[in-house]
């Protein structure tokens, strides 16, 4: 296996994704084409990207190629290195699981009125766009692929466009994606003007004055941060992600946000050149804010997919905390902790792709079999859909960063990076990072609370509505798609040493420094930075945990009384509990809402009903609308009103403007 084989595999993956898109065109006549041909091709594309990406990551080499496409003087260049290999593998693995899951899910949509041509066709284009972004080696191809990704996903968000809320969400997404795209384009413009050309190699070779470097950084941070859904530019994300079909939500939350992370890492760690520590402070601040705000907002939600979307804001916040730590350490001249933080961020990106993909597929399974997305109507699903329930539990444990699952490893790494603070010289920075660590710890604990709520309300207890009471297990394909991701969540939690060894190729290539090889010491035990510094032996711990459970189980099964008798719930001897007496999602979140509620616009009202009783109504608003979006909208509107005065309808006035513009331009260039 060599790098050119890897590149061929990735090229094959792009071709397969396009073929999946093309095959869907036949769905005009035969809707089953999407399920029988397009989704399998999609899965194969994912598998092929996974294989190509893994080979590239493990070889740790670079291969480039020039495509016979693009403009005559600006051909499209592609490049496969460890960083793009890592993200290709990430895209590939989730796409593969989605491709396995998809056919059964799409079957449920065949009877509906929505066009499967659009669903299948744009899914393929969406995947093509994401693969091409990661492969691009010049700003031209990057932006074309970026727009392809954004536009294809816009059509997927607008898939069920009968609903006005969906159209509104899709438009908001389109608007924000383009504002972000504009910022990225300008960022590349800054690099290209110093680097003499749009090729990444030229940008890499150029050296920017620090001021212009900061300008490029800010543009890239705004652009990629908007796509990644960082607070306060997150408003589109909880609107757009939930309304797409669930397997597409899994791709958008799990993968597309990671493409934004890829873009940011490529831009800031690779292309800009010398990093400055001030950037790290900015990224840390925004990352912490996103993490805390995202999880609190998720806690307040009662729509499962919306909750998961807010939780993506939180996870992207954690990833950017890692990236911010990396920038801070690298900018102050401490490569080793910087590398550690970068690895933590990339590890978390991979983990988030896996468990958020898994959770969205689980939400899709619930939607498929009970047509329910409101937590308040769920309940008791574990007994009705045992496999989905079990796999969803794995996702909840992983996202709550509990050992021995994968989320814990990346949180552990991020904390270890934060604990390297003592090396820094500046007292201000030294005291900044502990506060970030506290925010991260608070976030982690709140995530656990959020997912106890999700799992407890949706899967445990008793069904709260008729649809849910009649829920049936989902088809095998859907279970398999979730099973792949759940197995990987566990595998990545138990084998962190191998994963870190593979990711280590990325900083070695980008920054010329990696973790020392002694990091993996002895028997698969993580031992970072210094001997006896920090250790986590994940495989042994998982085995011990299993052993302790087995021991307790075995010891107690041998007791004299083995019988388990079924009876009514006791509940302190009050009236026998019915389904309406269960704790609801809103009730569960009430204490936390009371403690953190002032961060949101919480409105509790009593609406009188005809029979004299009252209905309690609770709305939770996002303050970012009032603080940022409404003022910006107002400003844009008033600016447009002023510009409209130019539009008098008189041709002579227009000609006058044209002449004036020409004169000004001539004066500028002369």
């Amino acid at each position: 296996m060599n790098m050119s084989a890897a590149l061929s595999l990735v090229a094959l993956s792009v071709v397969l994704a396009l073929a999946s898109s093309a095959a869907s065109l036949a769905a005009v006549r035969m809707p089953m084409v999407v399920r029988l041909l397009a989704m399998p091709l999609f899965a194969l594309a994912g598998l092929s990207a996974l294989a190509g990406g893994l080979i590239a990551l493990l070889l740790g080499d670079v291969v480039t190629a020039t495509l016979p496409l693009g403009l005559p003087w600006l051909p499209w260049r592609v490049r496969l290195d460890a960083l793009s290999g890592f993200f290709l593998a990430l895209i590939g693995v989730v796409s593969f699981a989605v491709g396995v899951y998809g056919p059964a899910y799409v079957r449920g949509l065949e009877k509906g009125r929505d066009s499967l041509v659009a669903l299948g066709g744009f899914s393929g284009l969406f995947l093509t766009g994401m693969l091409a972004v990661v492969l691009a080696n010049d700003a031209f191809l990057f932006m074309v692929a970026w727009e392809l990704m954004s536009l294809a996903s816009y059509f997927l968000v607008a898939f069920q466009h009968d609903n006005a809320a969906n159209r509104r969400a899709a438009f908001l997404y389109l608007l924000m994606a383009h504002v972000g795209g504009l910022a990225i384009l300008l960022g590349y413009g800054v690099l290209a003007s110093f680097g003499d050309g749009f090729a990444f190699d030229a940008m890499r070779a150029a050296s920017l004055p620090p001021a212009w470097g900061s300008v490029a950084f800010v543009l890239a941070f705004v652009g990629f941060g908007m796509k990644a859904g960082l607070v306060p530019l997150h408003a589109w994300l909880p609107e757009a992600h939930p309304v797409a079909p669930s397997h597409i939500s899994a791709l958008m939350s799990g993968v597309m946000l990671k493409v934004a992370v890829y873009g940011f890492v490529r831009f800031v760690f690779d292309l800009v050149g010398e990093v400055q520590w001030q950037w790290g402070v900015a990224v840390l601040a925004v990352g912490s804010l996103s993490a805390l705000f995202g999880v609190l907002a998720a806690m307040m939600q009662r729509d499962l997919k919306r909750l998961l979307a807010y939780s993506s804001v939180e996870n992207l916040g954690i990833i950017f905390i890692g990236l911010g730590l990396a920038l801070l350490f690298l900018g102050t001249g401490y490569p080793l902790p910087g590398v550690l933080a970068l690895i933590a961020a990339l590890y978390h990106a991979l983990n988030h792709a896996l468990f958020k993909g898994l959770l969205f597929l689980g939400a899709g399974a619930i939607l498929h079999s009970s047509h329910e997305h409101d937590l308040e109507h769920m309940g008791g699903l574990l007994r009705r859909m045992p496999w989905t329930g079990f796999l969803f539990l794995v996702g909840c444990l992983s996202i709550s960063s509990l050992p021995p699952f994968n989320g814990f490893v990346s949180e552990w790494l991020t904390f270890q990076a934060a604990l390297q603070t003592w090396q820094l010289d500046s007292g201000v920075l030294r005291s900044l990072i502990p506060i970030v660590a506290a925010v991260l710890a608070l976030t982690g604990a709140l995530v656990a609370a959020t997912f106890v709520k999700v799992y407890g309300v949706a899967f445990l207890g008793q069904a709260r509505s008729r649809h849910v009471r009649r829920a049936r297990p989902v088809p095998h394909g859907m279970r398999a798609g979730q099973g792949i991701l759940a197995a990987l969540c566990l595998a990545l939690g138990i084998m962190p040493v191998w994963v870190i060894g593979a990711i280590n190729a990325i900083p070695e290539q980008l920054l010329g420094a990696g973790l020392p090889h002694s990091a993996a010491e002895g028997w698969l035990s993580l031992n970072l930075v210094a001997a006896n510094g920090a250790s986590y032996n994940a495989p042994l711990m998982a085995v011990l945990l299993g052993l302790f459970v087995a021991l307790a189980f075995w010891a107690l099964r041998r007791g004299a009384v083995r019988r388990v008798r079924r009876c009514d719930a006791w509940d302190c001897g009050f009236a026998p509990p019915n389904t309406r007496m269960q704790y609801t999602a809103t009730a569960f979140a009430q204490p936390i809402r009371r403690v953190f509620g002032h961060l949101f616009l919480v409105e509790e009202t009593l609406v009188p009903r005809d029979d004299g009783s009252h209905r309690h109504q609770l709305t939770i608003g996002d303050r970012s609308w009032g603080l940022l979006y409404v003022p910006v909208t107002r400003w844009v509107e008033s600016a447009s009103r002023r510009v409209i005065r130019l539009q008098s309808g008189n041709v002579r006035v227009y000609l006058g403007w044209t002449l004036a513009t020409l004169l000004v331009l001539l004066w500028i260039i002369s």
Binding site: R430, A445, N537, P591
Partner: protein, 321 residues
């Protein structure tokens, strides 16, 4: 020789884990005894918790019709995770192999795993009390866990190690100095320990049938060996926090080698330390009243603030100096 040493260390580690499980009810019995004496009662024997456990283990298990398989699996997971967490905290000897398996962050993670399943089990039957307990437990832990992490990070950053053995070694080998950061961390950790082990003033361990209960509300539907495991896990958690506070902040007396004499002294010392801490807890619980639930966030924010102050005073005052 090396091989023999590692075998001895492994045996010591297993012994330590067993000691945690075996001694946990005793500490609870001791606290109850002291508390009873302070209240002018004679109180039950210190061995009463053992008798309770034996009684529960011999009883038939009753499970609600509405319970899912998770309800029956949860006690085992809670018990195993708590016990494993305890096994990583040095009780009488440092440098045991278990401390290399899991560091302080893993310890917090394992306790979080146990709590996650405990809260899920509370919600499983679908009773109002269970959900209420789970919701409150997650609120308390959401505020207590960051405080706990900040407190242990203060130690970890001082010792440049998140490994518990590393922290204790650092304490034993460095010259004695009254570090302000440690005082803050100690205060923070004590408050966290009170909240996490469900003691007054956050929760009352001696109550059922009270609308303010947290931990007990989640266990309401359990019976028989399931209840025994849950109770036992709570007792182990109490010893864990006691040993953590005693051995991190006052490690003197802990065995640094595996010589029998050193081990003997270490066990005597840790018993004395735990008895002292238990008596202090009993005095505190006698003097204080339980808080309202919505006073608990202020209490825990104080813990977080203290722990954060500890960390900040470390990075500002102690690193540069």
């Amino acid at each position: 020789m090396d091989h023999l040493l590692s075998v001895a260390a492994a045996v010591a580690a297993v012994l330590q884990a067993l000691l945690y499980a075996a001694a946990a009810p005793l500490l609870v019995g001791w606290i109850r005894k002291v508390k009873a004496r302070l209240q002018n009662r004679r109180g039950p024997s210190v061995l009463q918790p053992y008798r309770d456990l034996r009684k529960l283990l011999g009883k038939e298990v009753r499970v609600a019709h509405t319970a899912s398989p998770l309800f029956r699996a949860a006690p085992y997971v809670v018990f195993a995770a708590t016990w494993l967490a305890a096994a990583t905290v040095p009780l009488f000897a440092v440098d045991l192999p278990t401390t290399a398996v899991a560091d302080l962050i893993v310890l917090v993670g394992l306790l979080a795993l146990a709590r996650f399943f405990l809260a899920l089990a509370g919600m499983d039957v679908g009773t109002a009390f269970g959900g209420m307990g789970a919701s409150r437990e997650m609120l308390v832990s959401a505020l207590a866990e960051p405080a706990m992490l900040m407190a242990v990070f203060t130690l970890a950053m001082t010792a440049h190690s998140t490994n518990l053995a590393g922290v204790i070694d650092f304490q034993l080998t460095s010259d004695f100095a009254l570090r302000p950061s440690f005082l803050f961390a100690l205060a923070g950790l004590v408050l966290v320990a009170l909240a996490e082990t469900g003691r007054i003033p956050v929760d009352n361990p001696a109550t059922h049938l009270e609308l303010t209960m947290i931990h007990e509300a989640m266990l309401l539907e359990y019976s028989g060996r399931h209840l025994a495991l849950m109770e036992w896990a709570a007792q182990i958690k109490l010893v864990l926090y006691g040993a953590l506070i005693a051995n991190i902040f006052f490690p003197w007396g802990i065995a640094q080698s595996l010589a029998p004499s050193a081990l003997g002294i270490a066990i005597a010392v840790i018993v004395a330390k735990l008895m002292l801490l238990g008596a202090a807890l009993a005095v505190g619980e006698t003097l204080l009243a339980k808080m309202r639930l919505f006073r608990a966030p202020a209490f825990l924010n104080l813990a977080l603030l203290l722990a954060l102050l500890g960390l900040l005073s470390h990075v500002i005052l102690e690193v540069g100096a």
